[in-house]
Structure formats: structure tokens, C-alpha cells
């Protein structure tokens, strides 16, 4: 046992030794220790350097509010985790942790020079410096800032751990397993309500669990003893789920809460077995009881940040819970009674302790108890300085003036190795405010307490501003009974004895004889903001707390200002001479403590990140060497390289084959919507720009769909299968949105129409065969069918059968070639495809992918919605006036086609572009200009599609150009980084304007 381990407690098993590394040195602790308690047991206080001034910093607290002891865990692996609070790391065999924010080591830190140049780095220095000379920015300032910014190191490899999400519903959720949470849980569970209790520590009981003091008794037992018995009973209740190591991260509206459960972080590495590491609980609770307790406030005085300066109740927890004495010459600096419990605990173990109290007196029982034990108390005194470099070794105190605004008398120096500070308590109202709750300011102890209006959520215990044991038990009992509509509880007659605090005095910034400018009185320890910084911000004109916060960075570190926000507010109020209650607070945002990315994403990683959709023919594509491209969630064959062919060569070959003989494309991914109902034709009339009433049964028609603003939204071919039955196809990416949009109109604007929409995208697989030999191939597959142009003309459809299996054959073309699409139930997709390949063998049928499809349609000047359009193109802009019905009274977007903006003649319009050098292929997205000499150069358009056409043996491109319609034959320039490319505006149809091929 190390000399600091002075006490045996039931919470730390001193028979089970655990070895761990901190900053490369080996130490021992025991089962039940946190990293912080084990380090303190080894006499290690110095655990890090501060962010800005690199001042030595020590462990300050014992919980999630810890600002200083933030560690890098497992630094030597690629899976290191930064910013973990040592106070929350349960010790396990093999733990390796190290200090952050110091180089080369925590004991000798080069950045410490910032401490000496601190007069030159005041609040907001980021905004004021690094401005000149300009040339310094790239080479000096930026690398320097990047090197010194940030806390800790990020892991470099993907996280191999498993994370989980769990959705739960309950009648009552209780947040916090301290005394009030336990009382609330018991009342709730015993009244037949499905109850969940979550607690962030590994055991229940809060700070009462280590309170063993004559002055605090419940039913005549020590409060800790009584609570232990309650917990034992609680664990037997059936409809109560207790989740320890589970911290609430967020409290959203309608009682939707997120909590993170730590499952394996406390286990030795070899016992984790690849189990789930953390689980995010997504809880929808009917009622929520917040019992998150309170955080002890520090005091703000000169040099209040040395290692060895700790929160008083944490010092007590280390002593009474972990059995570790943080020092042997202890001094307590307080403004309230709660710190006297710490003094009594020390004294009872024979450890030296003295008290500096800023109050003039206190006559409470606990103070008298301390005095009786011989604790020396310096009343009406304050600390004006602390000394000691890597750890505190002494303090200097002076008396306070009558009004507390100044110090008087002589300095007195007191030796100490631990200074426990207590500035009172701050209710943890984070959860209340996250849920949308407001706060009231209570003058008497300068606290913000919840103002409850939501009938489905209450706050109990010290997070509600009840700090005395008696108030906590009585008020929690009454409030919970009321909330859950319960008439009586077992706590109705609980007798409570506690020392009551009678005298209060609060000074946010303690006075000093040294001028304010020379004092280092820290408010935010993690971000190194001092009282001076706050005052500077006020002098520079910042008034709103939100502005002061951002300018000084107070409360913006990983601890989110749990210890600092109240002091910042208090000092602003005092300096500006306003009431603190009128200032309001900054906004508390989730998460309450940092969450791992792993717990947020859960199982949605790797192949579960998003749905992958594959066509029924996918396997054939894979076996035939297809390279795939993502189109929405679909995997579509991109091209099919032969041997080591690249994209360009494969596409040239595929394109040529499709036009010279036959090509085949898997078109299964196109969206397919089955439309039925007596008003189906009328419905199509309203959603497409062209007319549909006269389309014969068995005929196909291409349609353009607009948004109400007149812009092209989607396109596709729709086939009339029967009198009241159509099959609409949409773009692959637009399928879901088109269906939603059509449903919206049907349900909300035209409920009188008898139309039913069904998505059948996944129900049918489609093989699209094109090329001059396609008809011969179809003839082989359907030998009984007449494929003559008279019997089966372009833009028509017929039913067919392959081995008794029904299919639909559409003669439609997206390539400009003679082309057929065969639709078959998806389960037969692959065999259909293989049949087509077999039948096409003698014609060297060539499978082609999306890239070749894009090239072929560009040769023919067919647009792709989303590539050649971008949500600002009307059909008129696309030079597709022919598809806009003049006769129809109305269709979606019609009125917008003649708004003053849409009839402008200088809108960007779709044109073709040919390069002067036929081998020069333009870059898609390249800007287009007409006059390169006039500065600034006006960009008049951009390239939307560009390819080298093997069939035309030259480069072709589609582009949108201002007033492009009138520019046919005009020379334009496409300026690139190192050259200007000369182009000429052409028709957008490059191949077979006469449609000879389609009708071949």
C-alpha cells in the first residue's frame, strides 16, 4: 500500500492489485479505483498542461466535470482515444494513459513559455494577432496554430470496436442514482410503473454513499448506511431496470432521451472478447425524473490552478470512498458548510487539516463538530496567492474587508500539500434546459434552479436546488408522489437529522492586494480563461454572455464549462453592475459529456452504412468483370473491361459495338411506377408537360415532368398497358422522389382522381438490347413474334413469353439505335439476360455499362436529368419546346413557364459544342466564355456532358450557354488552367438527326 492510501473502504478491493501505465511509468492501483484515484494514491497530482499557457495542472474533481485530468488512452496504438477524463476511467489491468497537451513531457513542457508571455496573449488574441505581415501566414502562423491547436491525438485507423443502439420505452425514466434518484425509483417501481434508472458511475448512491457523519442521519442511521439498505431493496424490484455506467447524453423534446452505456471499457483488455463496447440507449419515456445532483463550485483567486488544488467534496470522496488522502497537510478554502464534512473526515483519520473561510462566522452543527475536533479555522479570510511549481506547497492568506471587496491586514503564509476548495454548489440543470425548460435565479445562494412547466418532467434533489439532506428527502418524496399521482409512500415518515447551513457569503472574484492585471485567477481551467479575460471582454464592449463566452472561450472546452459558467456570469454581473438573474445563462447543448462517434453511428458502419441495391443480374455482371458505379443506392455496371482495358478504351469499344452490331444494358434500376385507375390518363396529363389522353393502348410515350416552378424534375417513358393502366419509368435516382411527389398531389391537391400508384421498380428486371442487329436477336428469343415495323413500330409495346414466362417488350430507345427493352419478373432477370447474351452471340452482342449509355445518348443529344439539368432548366431552355403541350389547360409547372424570369431570352440554354481540335475532349463542368480579353471575364455557361465519340470519331459535348439558342455556329472559348480551348456552338443532336437508325 502506498502512503497516500490511508483508509480501507468497501468500494476499493485492496486485495486485488491492478497495474497500469501513466506517462510511460508503471503504477499499481486496486480494483474499484479510477485512474484518478490510483494516481492520487501514488502521489501523482500533475497530470497535464493547460491549453493556452501550458501551466502544470492536477486532478481537480472526481467526476464528469473534471477540467484538467483529460488523458490520451492507449497512445501507442492506432486506436488511441483522446480527451478521456481520468476521473471517469475505471482502472483495468493493462491500462496505458498519458497526459495531453504537453511536449516533450508533462514535467518539462516547451509550451510553458506561453505562461511567461501571457501578457501578450489576452482574450481574443486569435482575432487580434496573426494579421500581419501577410506573408507570415502560410509559412509561420498557420503551421504554428495548427501544431498548438486541439487537445490530444486522433486515432488513425478505423475503430474495430462494436457499438450498438437500443430503443426502449418506459413509464418513468430516472436520471441519476443518488439519494433522490433512488427514492424516486423506489416510489415509481413500487407503484407498478415500468421504470428505468440510469447512473453514470459504476455504483448507485451518489455522494451520500460515502457520507458517514454524526450530523447526517436518516431514521437514526448514518445516511450512507440507510442508503445502502435502500439500494439493496431497490435491486429486488421487478419492474425496475437499473443501468449503471450509463450517462445521459441528450434530453430532446417529447421525453426522447439518449444515454450512453459503457459496457466493456472497464474490463481488462483480454476480457473484452470483441463484445459490444458501448450502447446508445434511445429512450422514449412517458415521464422523466431528473436527479442529476449538483457540482461543487471552485473559488476564483490568484493562482487557483496549481496541482494539489482540488474540489473539497472530491477530496472527501477520494478519502472516504477510495481510501486515498490527497495530502497530509491539508487546507480547506470555503464559503460554505459542506467543506467542513471534508475537514471532519480528515480529522477522524488523524490527518492534519485547517480551514480558511471567507465567512465571518458559522454556528452550524458541522462547524462546531470540526472545531471540537481541533480544526483551526481562519474566519473572514481569503487566499491571495498559492506557491509551488509542479504541486502546491504553501498559500498566502489575508483578512477580508468588511464588505468583502478588499483585503486588509498582513499576509500570512501556510504550508500545505493539498488545498480543497469549495465555493458552494451548482445544480446540474443541463438536462432540464436541454429539454426546453427555463431557469429561475435564486438570490440566497446564487443558483439557477429549474422553473418547471412541462407536466411530464420534474427535477428532484440537489439539481432542483435542494442541498440539505432533509429537504432532499422530504421534497423528493412529495414531488414524486404528486408527479406520479401516488397518495402515500414508505418515505412519508422518514426522520432526518442534518446540520443546517445558517450563514452564507459569496464573492465571485476574491479580492487581492495585487493589481487585477497581475493576478492569474482562473475561471475556465481547461481553456485557460481568467477573470482578467472576462473583464477585458466587457471593457471591449461585449455585453451578452453568449458573446463574452465566445470571445474569451470560457465554457467552450470539452467540459463545456461545468465548473466555470457560474463564475463567468457572476463576474460579468458584478463588473457590469447588473443582477445576475437578468443575465441569463449560456445555452446548454447536448451531449452532456462527449460521446464517441462509434456510439453515435452504432451498427451503421461499413456495409451497413447504407442500403446497397443490386439488380437480379448483378451476379452475371460481377462474373463478367464489370466495374460498378453507385447510382443512388444501386450498384450499376459502369463498364466491362476486357483484360487490362481502362475506362476509356472499354467505353470506346462498347459504344462502337452497340452502334455497329448489338449492345445490351441492364436497365433494371430505372424507377417503375404502376399507375391504375379510371383517371390515370387525366393524372398523366396533369403531371407531364405533353398530352396523354390520345395515347393508344400498347403505345409508349416519353414524358417530361416539371416542378411547379417550371424546372425539369424528371423524365422517362410511360407505356399504356390497358385502358386504365400505365407503367411509368423514372430516372434511377429520382424514383422514390417522383413517387412521393405524385402521391402528394394525389392525396392533397387532386383527391377526387381515381388513381393508384404502386412502386414496381424491384418487381421487374430489364434487359435493353440496342443496335442494328437487335431485331434479329429479339426474333431469336421470340420466334413467334412479328417484329416488322408495321407490326411492332417504334414507341410501342407487346406482351411476350419466354418458356411460358410472361414478359413485356417495349420498342423504345435511349441510344438512338433500334432498341428493345424486355421486362420480366425480377426472379427471372438473370436467366433472361443469359438468354439474350446467348441469342446475341453470333452478333457479338456486347454488354455495356452506364458510361457507354451516357456516351451513346449524348451522341443523339438526349439529356440526362441531373447531369444536363440542375434544377434551373425549363423544357424551353433545353430546346424541348416540342414536348410542351400548348393545348392543355394546365399541368404541373405550366404557369411558371411564362413568368417574367422564365421567358427571358438570355437564360442558359442547352446547345452542342464541337472543339476545333476533334481530339480535344472538354472537361465536364468547365466554364465557357465568349470574350477572353474583356476583364472581368464573363462566364456565359458551362459544359454538362463531354465525350470522345468513336462513332463520329470526334469530341462532342453538351453545354448550357446564355442565349445559346441563337448562337449556332458561333465560336466560344473554354479556358482551362494552362490553355484556352476553341469551340463552336452546334446542334445538340450529333448523330442521325433524321432518326433513320431508330426506325431501321
Amino acid at each position: 500500500m502506498t502512503k497516500y492510501r490511508v483508509n480501507k473502504t468497501k468500494h476499493v478491493d485492496q486485495t486485488k492489485t491492478i497495474s497500469f501505465d501513466f506517462d510511460g511509468k508503471s503504477y499499481h492501483g486496486f480494483e474499484g479505483d479510477t485512474l484518478a484515484s490510483a494516481l492520487l494514491a501514488n502521489g501523482v497530482h500533475l497530470v497535464g498542461r493547460s491549453f493556452k499557457y501550458h501551466r502544470p495542472r492536477g486532478i481537480m474533481s472526481s467526476g464528469s466535470e473534471e477540467p484538467n485530468a483529460i488523458c490520451q488512452v492507449n497512445e501507442d496504438t492506432d486506436l488511441t482515444e483522446p480527451n478521456v477524463r481520468a476521473t471517469e476511467i475505471e482502472l483495468y489491468e493493462g491500462l496505458k494513459a498519458s497526459s495531453q497537451n504537453c511536449w516533450p513531457s508533462v514535467k518539462f513542457d516547451i509550451g510553458g513559455i506561453n505562461n511567461f508571455i501571457s501578457p501578450f496573449i489576452p482574450a481574443g488574441f486569435y482575432y487580434k494577432t496573426f494579421m500581419w505581415p501577410k506573408s507570415f501566414w502560410k509559412k509561420i502562423y498557420e503551421p504554428l496554430i495548427r501544431w498548438s491547436a486541439g487537445l490530444g491525438k486522433s486515432p488513425t485507423k478505423p475503430d474495430p470496436e462494436l457499438y450498438d443502439h437500443k430503443h426502449v420505452h418506459c413509464d418513468v425514466l430516472i436520471i441519476g442514482g443518488g439519494i433522490s434518484g433512488i427514492i424516486a425509483s423506489k416510489i415509481s417501481a413500487k407503484n407498478n410503473l415500468k421504470t428505468i434508472l440510469i447512473e453514470d458511475k459504476n455504483i448507485l448512491g451518489g455522494s451520500t454513499i460515502f457520507q458517514k457523519n454524526e450530523n447526517y442521519k436518516i431514521n437514526n442511521k448514518y445516511s450512507s448506511e440507510w442508503l445502502n439498505e435502500e439500494i439493496a431493496e431497490l435491486k429486488k424490484l421487478d419492474n425496475l431496470t437499473i443501468k449503471t455506467r450509463t450517462s445521459l447524453a441528450a434530453y430532446h423534446s417529447y421525453n426522447y432521451l439518449l444515454a450512453k452505456e459503457n459496457i466493456s471499457d472497464h474490463l481488462p483488455l483480454e476480457k473484452r472478447n470483441g463484445d459490444i463496447r458501448q450502447r446508445l440507449w434511445k429512450i422514449r419515456a412517458d415521464k422523466v425524473i431528473v436527479a442529476t445532483g449538483a457540482i461543487e463550485r471552485p473559488l476564483v483567486f490568484n493562482n487557483n490552478d496549481r496541482p494539489g488544488i482540488m474540489l473539497s467534496n472530491s477530496v472527501k470522496k477520494y478519502l472516504d470512498f477510495y481510501g486515498v488522502s490527497c495530502g497530509f497537510n491539508n487546507v480547506i478554502f470555503t464559503n460554505n458548510d459542506s467543506a467542513y464534512e471534508t475537514a471532519v473526515s480528515f480529522k477522524e483519520k488523524g490527518i492534519s487539516v485547517e480551514i480558511i473561510d471567507i465567512r465571518k462566522k458559522s454556528n452550524s452543527k458541522i462547524v462546531k463538530n470540526a472545531e471540537k475536533l481541533g480544526v483551526k479555522i481562519y474566519w473572514n479570510s481569503t487566499i491571495v496567492n498559492t506557491l509551488g511549481h509542479r504541486k502546491i506547497n504553501s498559500i498566502e492568506i489575508m483578512n477580508l474587508s468588511e464588505d468583502g471587496s478588499n483585503v486588509v491586514g498582513d499576509k500570512k503564509r501556510i504550508k500545505c500539500d493539498c488545498l480543497a476548495i469549495s465555493g458552494g454548489w451548482t445544480p446540474m440543470v443541463h438536462m432540464h434546459t436541454q429539454s426546453g425548460g427555463k431557469l429561475d435565479f435564486r438570490e440566497i445562494d446564487q443558483t439557477f434552479i429549474p422553473n418547471e412547466i412541462d407536466e411530464n418532467h420534474i427535477n428532484v434533489g440537489s439539481c432542483n436546488g435542494d442541498f440539505e439532506l432533509e429537504d432532499i428527502i422530504k421534497n423528493t418524496n412529495n414531488k414524486v408522489k404528486n408527479f406520479l399521482k401516488v397518495s402515500e409512500s414508505e418515505f412519508d415518515n422518514t426522520s432526518v437529522l442534518n446540520s443546517k447551513e445558517l450563514d452564507k457569503r459569496n464573492i465571485w472574484l476574491l479580492p487581492n492586494f495585487i493589481s487585477e492585471g497581475k493576478c492569474k485567477s482562473f475561471i475556465d481551467f481547461q481553456n485557460d480563461s481568467t477573470a482578467k479575460d472576462i473583464k477585458l471582454a466587457l471593457r471591449e464592449g461585449f455585453k451578452s454572455i453568449e458573446h463574452v463566452k465566445r470571445y474569451t472561450t470560457t465554457g467552450m472546452a470539452t467540459d463545456q464549462g461545468k465548473l466555470s459558467n457560474m463564475h463567468a456570469l457572476g463576474i460579468i454581473a458584478d463588473t457590469a453592475g447588473v443582477k445576475m438573474g437578468t443575465l441569463g445563462t449560456t445555452t446548454f447543448r447536448p451531449p452532456f459529456t462527449p460521446l464517441t462517434f462509434g456510439s453515435i453511428v452504432g451498427r451503421s458502419v461499413g456495409k451497413f452504412f447504407d442500403t446497397i441495391r443490386r439488380t437480379s443480374i448483378h451476379e452475371w455482371h460481377s462474373q463478367n468483370n464489370a466495374k460498378f458505379e453507385n447510382v443512388g443506392q444501386w450498384k450499376r455496371p459502369w463498364y466491362y473491361p476486357i483484360n487490362d482495358e481502362g475506362l476509356h478504351d472499354a467505353v470506346q469499344r462498347e459504344s462502337k459495338a452497340a452502334r455497329d452490331s448489338a449492345g445490351i444494358l441492364d436497365a433494371s434500376t430505372l424507377g417503375k411506377i404502376d399507375i391504375q385507375g379510371t383517371d390515370a390518363s387525366e393524372f398523366l396529363n396533369r403531371v407531364y408537360t405533353n398530352a396523354w389522353s390520345k395515347l393508344g393502348i400498347g403505345k409508349c410515350r416519353y414524358g417530361l415532368m416539371l416542378n411547379e416552378d417550371g424546372m425539369v424534375y424528371d423524365d422517362g417513358v410511360t407505356t399504356r398497358l390497358g385502358e386504365n393502366h400505365y407503367l411509368m419509368t423514372t430516372t434511377t435516382g429520382g424514383a422514390a422522389n417522383v413517387l412521393s411527389k405524385l402521391e402528394d398531389y394525389l392525396q392533397t391537391e387532386w383527391p377526387e382522381l381515381d388513381v393508384y400508384l404502386t412502386s414496381v421498380t424491384d418487381h421487374y428486371s430489364t434487359a435493353s438490347i440496342c443496335g442494328p442487329n437487335s431485331k434479329k436477336i429479339l426474333k431469336k428469343i421470340f420466334p413467334d413474334k412479328d417484329f416488322s415495323d408495321d407490326a411492332f413500330p417504334h414507341m410501342s409495346y407487346q406482351n411476350g413469353k419466354i418458356d411460358e414466362i410472361n414478359c413485356r417488350i417495349m420498342r423504345i430507345s435511349f441510344t438512338g439505335e433500334l432498341s428493345y427493352e424486355i421486362n420480366i419478373e425480377s426472379k427471372y432477370g438473370k436467366s433472361l439476360w443469359e438468354k439474350c447474351i446467348e441469342a446475341g452471340k453470333e452478333f457479338k452482342i456486347t454488354p455495356y455499362g452506364t458510361e457507354t449509355m451516357h456516351l451513346l445518348r449524348a451522341e443523339k443529344g438526349f439529356i440526362i436529368v441531373g447531369q444536363d439539368t440542375d434544377g434551373t432548366m425549363t423544357p424551353i431552355d433545353l430546346q424541348m419546346d416540342w414536348i410542351v403541350s400548348k393545348k392543355k389547360y394546365d399541368f404541373i409547372g405550366k404557369r411558371s413557364l411564362y413568368r417574367s424570369d422564365t421567358i427571358r431570352e438570355d437564360r442558359k440554354q442547352l446547345v452542342g459544342l464541337l472543339t476545333d481540335d476533334p481530339n480535344e475532349v472538354l472537361e465536364e463542368g468547365a466554364q465557357i466564355v465568349s470574350d477572353i480579353n474583356k476583364k472581368p471575364i464573363e462566364m456565359i455557361g458551362h459544359v454538362t456532358s463531354s465525350y470522345f465519340s468513336p462513332n463520329l470519331n470526334k469530341s462532342i459535348a453538351l453545354a448550357v450557354v446564355k442565349s445559346g439558342k441563337k448562337m449556332n455556329g458561333q465560336k466560344l472559348i473554354v479556358p482551362m488552367e494552362n490553355k484556352n480551348i476553341n469551340v463552336i456552338v452546334s446542334d445538340s443532336v450529333f448523330l442521325d438527326k433524321e432518326n433513320k437508325r431508330i426506325n431501321a
Binding site: S253, Y254, N255, Y256, R284, Q747, T748, E749, K894, S900
Partner: protein, 91 residues
């Protein structure tokens, strides 16, 4: 994260729904007879109230039905949910 009482399915998590903006904007029956300004009023102008607001919602990952909702944007309290075509409740 709201709990929305779909008029067809009952209470469901907000993640099942999508919001379709302001409710009770009726598509003009004779768009061609409107001036540019009148059409623009229908097409573009939407209220963005701090307070009680009438909204269209779609149970996108459920029954796919559209319905209307009255929500106070100050505190996200949902005052009423009703089917398309039904009269909005009087506040």
C-alpha cells in the same frame, strides 16, 4: 424529437415522418388566369411563424399518408393533428 400522432397509425417517432411545409395553401384552379405576382404568391411565399403554425406532414416511413398538424414553433407543442381535407381546428 417529436412524438407525432399520425391520424391513421397513432403515435410514432418523428423519424418516420417528413415535413412538407405550410398547410392550407391551395393550388389555384386556374393558374393561367393569374398574374405573375399572384402566381408567385402561391409558388414562393411561405409564412415562418414563431408561434402556432399549420404544417403539412407525411408519414413517409409508415402509411405514406399526408396530414396536417398544428404546432407551436416556440416550444414544439403539437396542438392538433387532422386529416387532409378536414377543417383546421379553430385556435
Amino acid at each position: 424529437m417529436f412524438l407525432i400522432n399520425c391520424p391513421y397509425c397513432g403515435e410514432r417517432d418523428q423519424s418516420e415522418f417528413s415535413c412538407g411545409g405550410e398547410a392550407h395553401i391551395i393550388r389555384p384552379k386556374q393558374p393561367t388566369e393569374l398574374s405573375d405576382d399572384q402566381w408567385a404568391e402561391y409558388l414562393f411565399m411561405r409564412k415562418n411563424i414563431k408561434g402556432v403554425q399549420f404544417e403539412r406532414w407525411n408519414h413517409a416511413h409508415g402509411c405514406r399518408k399526408w396530414f396536417n398538424m398544428v404546432r407551436d414553433t416556440k416550444n414544439d407543442k403539437i396542438h392538433a393533428v387532422y386529416k387532409m381535407g378536414e377543417k383546421p381546428p379553430v385556435e
